[in-house]
């Protein structure tokens, strides 16, 4: 299996701080083409491409644009919000795009704005990502000077500009509705869904929220067409995915591959296991992800196939554990993470995350009666999933249930 670089093709080739470099490498060609199309045509093209959101949920991007574009036609304003809050443990794909080729996702953002006719956008970047913030800021400034942002972009009559908003250390703010609260200058408490951002988003206006990697696909799709795009990846998950693989592999890092690669192929590309150790487990999709064991090594990693097998693709994070590593340490860490990130607004999540951490502590210390302990934990996480206000409280069941499926014997 070879890398298929369509998003990352300029990484390490261009100077990310230089817009002329980006332009020489084909930057903003997609935008130029989009501006000659009708906004609805752009949306059609994206729908045909089959692109699905890379923020974790895999929602069809074209469809989301259509909803946002069609909602509240009387509203005086609509917005594009870029989700650059990348906080899922094990994930660093958006950082790579922002640091190494920021013009790519900025161009995608402008195309998305044109498609839904938004005149204003916000890029919400996590506060710890200083380098991403600097690079994006420079890119915005240079794009303005070149007329890719601002009034009457490239003479098309379309106006659009973006601003950077900083996160401040809350994972929950990566959830789209919570992000909008935070972006408005409030505490990161989730809003109740519905209404969805497409109906009532930033400042109550229709808002398109997309992940950095999702948007980075737009210039390529518009430039080369949806037919070309569909030749990459699988029927229901077209395109590439940037996987970030870490842990016990020889060459951890980011790898862009066609959708549908197997875990084994990804591990091979990452140099195989570190020091030749045997594979034991992987956590796919970060803390809000699922554990798999060796029986899943040859499954195709697409949204749908993994879901059918009880696993997730999520953000594309792959954390690899080797024989000798304690999987329950990592489970404990995920549950500790949720406890730390719970906003405490609703009881099932506030109390539940704390209880799960306690029990996971017993579990990893090898207490007796572990099968029952584990069953109790799964039951508790199920109740949390059913009663919590927002998706964070619905997440601990993912690593827990998958852990109990594969690793209960190990205890």
């Amino acid at each position: 299996m070879e890398e298929k670089k369509i998003l990352l093709k300029n990484v390490g080739v261009i100077d990310p701080g230089c817009i002329d470099d980006a332009i020489r490498a084909g930057g903003y060609e997609g935008l130029k083409k989009a501006l000659k199309m009708a906004p609805a045509q752009v949306i059609d093209e994206l729908e045909r491409s089959g692109l699905r959101g890379r923020g974790g949920a895999g929602f069809p991007t074209g469809m989301k644009q259509k909803f946002t574009s069609d909602s509240c036609l009387k509203c005086p304003q609509r917005y594009v919000v870029v989700n650059a809050d990348e906080g899922e443990p094990g994930t660093f794909k958006d950082r790579v795009i922002m640091e190494k080729d920021p013009h790519l996702y900025l161009e995608g953002t402008i195309i998305a704005a044109f498609a839904i006719q938004a005149t204003k956008g916000y890029i919400y970047i996590r506060g710890e990502y200083h380098e991403s913030i600097r690079k994006t800021e420079q890119a915005i400034r240079d794009a303005r000077n070149k007329g890719f942002l601002g009034k009457n972009i490239l003479g098309s009559g379309f106006d659009f500009d973006v601003e950077i908003k900083l996160g401040a250390g809350s994972y929950l703010c990566g959830e789209e509705l919570t992000m909008l609260e935070s972006l408005e200058g409030k505490r990161g408490h989730p809003r109740i869904k519905p209404p969805f951002p497409a109906e009532k988003g930033a400042f109550g206006m229709p808002t398109l929220v997309n992940n950095v990697e999702t948007l980075a696909n737009l210039p390529r799709i518009i430039e080369h067409g949806s037919e070309w795009y569909r030749t990459i990846g699988t029927e229901r998950s077209p395109g590439t995915k940037i996987f970030t693989i870490s842990g016990q592999v020889a060459k951890p890092g980011y790898y862009e591959l066609p959708m549908g690669v197997t875990l084994q192929e990804l591990i091979d590309l990452a140099g195989g296991m570190r020091n030749g150790r045997a594979f034991k487990a992987a956590l796919l999709g970060g803390a809000a992800g699922t554990f798999v064991d060796a029986s899943m090594l040859n499954e195709r990693m697409t949204y749908d196939n993994l879901r059918e097998k009880g696993a997730t693709l999520g953000s594309g994070a792959v954390i690899v554990l080797a024989e000798g590593d304690n999987v329950s340490d990592i489970l404990y860490n995920c549950l500790r993470f949720f406890k730390h990130e719970s906003c405490g607004k609703c009881v099932p999540c506030r109390v539940g995350t704390a209880q799960l951490v306690n029990k996971a502590g017993q579990l990893r210390n090898g207490h007796s009666g572990n099968t029952t302990l584990l069953q109790q934990m799964v039951r508790e996480a199920e109740i949390m999933a059913g009663t919590s206000l927002c998706p964070l409280g619905q997440s601990p069941i993912l690593p827990l249930e998958s852990f109990s499926r594969y690793f209960k014997e190990l205890q």
């Binding site: 390490g12 080739v13 261009i14 100077d15 701080g17 230089c18 817009i19 002329d20 470099d21 990348e86 906080g87 443990p89 094990g90 994930t91 660093f92 950082r95 506060g127 710890e128 200083h130 380098e131 913030i133 600097r134 800021e137 400034r141 240079d142 303005r144 000077n145 950077i164 908003k165 900083l166 996160g167 401040a168 250390g169 809350s170 935070s182 408005e184 200058g185 409030k186 505490r187 990161g188 400042f203 970030t244 870490s246 842990g247 016990q248 951890p252 890092g253 956590l283 970060g286 803390a287 994070a317 954390i319 590593d325 340490d329 990592i330 860490n333 995920c334 993470f337 730390h340 990130e341």
Partner: protein, 202 residues
């Protein structure tokens, strides 16, 4: 293209740690930037900025949606990495918000502090990949060198030690940040070296 090949080589030679240097070199070589037509305001303020809190706040348009950016800018400019009561009050007044709502926001987000911290804020990642690759050992080393616990500040006011969730550097775990600088692939030697270097510079 000759240049990019050349820089690619430099890049490969120096590795990721020097990618900042590469960007600058590249920019000088073939990225001629005219003066900006627009007024530039930086989201990330410089640590050594010579501006009063009021001047910093006034760079932003007085709207609530600027609150987090303002709090970051003000906190970054403070040598002790925190938000003073006076800063919060000034911010509230400028944005026409109640003091309690500004406090509420400042307290909610873990990157903000209402208590003075050291000049160098250490954030050690304790998320899964770093834990797997022995962040605990790094914690012990940091504590040994600094003589403080997590959440504490050294008596000379130089360092504060905090935990962080995944810093997005997992390819070279274990990782930490000190102010805006990222340090990866930590082991005993590297951790000690980094602290010494900062101590020498002060």
């Amino acid at each position: 293209m000759l240049e990019s090949g050349y820089f690619l080589n430099i890049y490969l030679y120096f590795g990721r740690h020097f990618s900042g240097l590469l960007d600058m070199a590249g920019a000088q070589q073939h990225c001629l930037r005219g003066a900006s037509k627009h007024q530039d305001q930086k989201v990330l303020t410089d640590k050594h900025i010579h501006m009063s809190t009021e001047e910093i706040i006034k760079q932003f348009e007085p709207a609530q949606h600027n609150l987090l950016n303002i709090l970051h800018a003000v906190q970054n400019s403070h040598p002790q990495n925190y938000l003073t009561e006076q800063a919060l009050e000034e911010t509230a007044r400028y944005l026409k918000l109640t003091k309690s709502s500004v406090y509420g926001v400042a307290r909610y987000y873990t990157m903000f502090s209402l208590k003075p911290r050291g000049r160098h804020l250490i954030r050690l990642c304790v998320s899964p990949v770093c834990e797997l690759l022995k962040a605990n050992d790094i914690l012990a080393i940091l504590q040994k060198h600094l003589g403080i616990g997590v959440g504490e500040t050294t008596s000379d006011g130089l360092f504060t030690l905090e935990f962080s969730e995944c810093l997005g550097q997992c390819q070279e775990a274990p990782s930490m940040m000190i102010n805006d600088q990222v340090y990866n692939g930590l082991d005993e030697e590297e951790t000690g070296r980094v602290l010494e270097e900062i101590r020498k510079k002060k």
